[in-house]
Subunit: 210 residues, 2 copies
DNA sequence: AGCAAAACCGTACCGACGGTACAGGAGCGG
DNA sequence: CCGCTCCTGTACCGTCGGTACGGTTTTGCT
């Protein structure tokens, strides 16, 4: 039982790296079992087919993603009392975290699946959609708190504003990968951070705020 | 010669739609020739292998992409004399264009290839990189013009600011696809537009500007 | 220690797919 | 009629996803 989980995890580790580099279609099962050191039978013991592998991979990725967001923004919440300052700090911490990845962000599985939709069943597409909706709720909650304290210089739909966080991250990953400039992603996040700062900056003076 | 080009174009049309829905690995050549109505030999007469198909596909996509950008922003330039107003109008036109697509944006080939990098040769990755750099130059030029007239409320690296346009578009496409909300992408572009407006808005009053 | 379930391995096989090779033919301009 | 472009047809190869199924080791539990 313990052993089984370990092997399963090892398969998922190998698969995740491969899928992020070559996509699902470009990742062969035979290649996975070769690297994992198990046989084909062993693989199909753990996953009925490639679709189930994708599902497990996606669920694990999303879980981990949420954990990281939780850590970063709860730490930011601990350090800053003000919701705006806390959010801005969170973005900074996120940017720093991504900046420290030696080879840049490996890629987002949610995005990978977006560009593969027709290959997977509705269930996986729905998991993907829920992940994006969870991101929206998370950041919407933060913006709601900010709006309770600050008056923005311009009116926005809060959901769209919340989605902007995910948009910048996903887009930043794509651009970073295309340009082969790992530092582009953290940079884009900081640009967005400045925009948010600008949005809630009091009209009069341009000081205050980190 | 004319006939050959026509067939080649038809293959590319079918391939582009398929690749954007299922990725390169998920698109089989046999499926392409079935839909195009030619034989396998016919296909390999036009393209030596899948890699060359990808290259042709990408080049055509980028060309078309550039054409659309040219049209939109040169039209905006004709309608507005001020570089900022012209840029803001361009973003609005872009948003409207994307909003009118019945099934939403089909996806960006540059992004598709990003998530497939290891499958293609360096040449394709370089074409992809150059495309992103061309976007950067395009928007950087616009921001340079704006900076010559306006003083921003916050200092930015101009390249990073220029990249933000591509980031928002690429990220918006991913989010739109993940959420299955076609209107998300044009919405995100408008949010970004507001941010740009905000950035160059004079400190005193919040009127003026579109 | 003994037993059952879990966690594999080995082998054989299938159809689909990417790709190669090569022979040939239709249509067309010169 | 030649030669070129633009294909078709056929045959074949290796890889891959997936199935089937029997056998074996490992593990946890009593």
């Amino acid at each position: 039982m313990r052993k089984g989980e370990e092997t399963r995890t090892r398969i998922l580790d190998v698969a995740e790296a491969a899928v992020l580099q070559k996509g699902f279609g470009g990742t062969s099962i035979e290649e996975l079992i070769a690297e994992t050191g198990i046989t084909k039978s062993g693989f199909f013991y753990h996953f009925r087919d490639k679709n189930e592998l994708a599902k497990a991979l996606l669920n694990r990725y999303i879980e981990n993603d949420e954990r990281i967001y939780d850590e970063i923004f709860s730490r930011a919440r601990d350090l800053m009392d003000d919701p705006l300052q806390s959010f801005l700090l969170g973005l900074k911490l996120l940017s720093e975290l991504l900046s420290d990845l030696p080879n840049g962000h490996p890629g987002c599985l949610v995005a990978t699946i977006c560009y593969y939709e027709r290959l997977f069943d509705r269930e996986i597409q729905e998991i993907n959609r829920q992940a994006a909706l969870t991101w929206r709720r998370r950041f919407r909650g933060m913006f709601d708190e900010i709006f309770a304290v600050y008056t923005p210089r311009e009116q926005f739909d809060v959901d769209q504003l919340a989605d902007m966080v995910s948009t910048v991250i996903e887009g930043g990953i794509v651009l970073s990968k295309a340009l082969k400039e790992p530092q582009s992603l953290p940079g884009q996040i900081l640009v967005f951070r400045s925009f948010v700062k600008l949005l809630f900056q009091p009209v009069q003076q341009a000081r205050a705020a980190s």
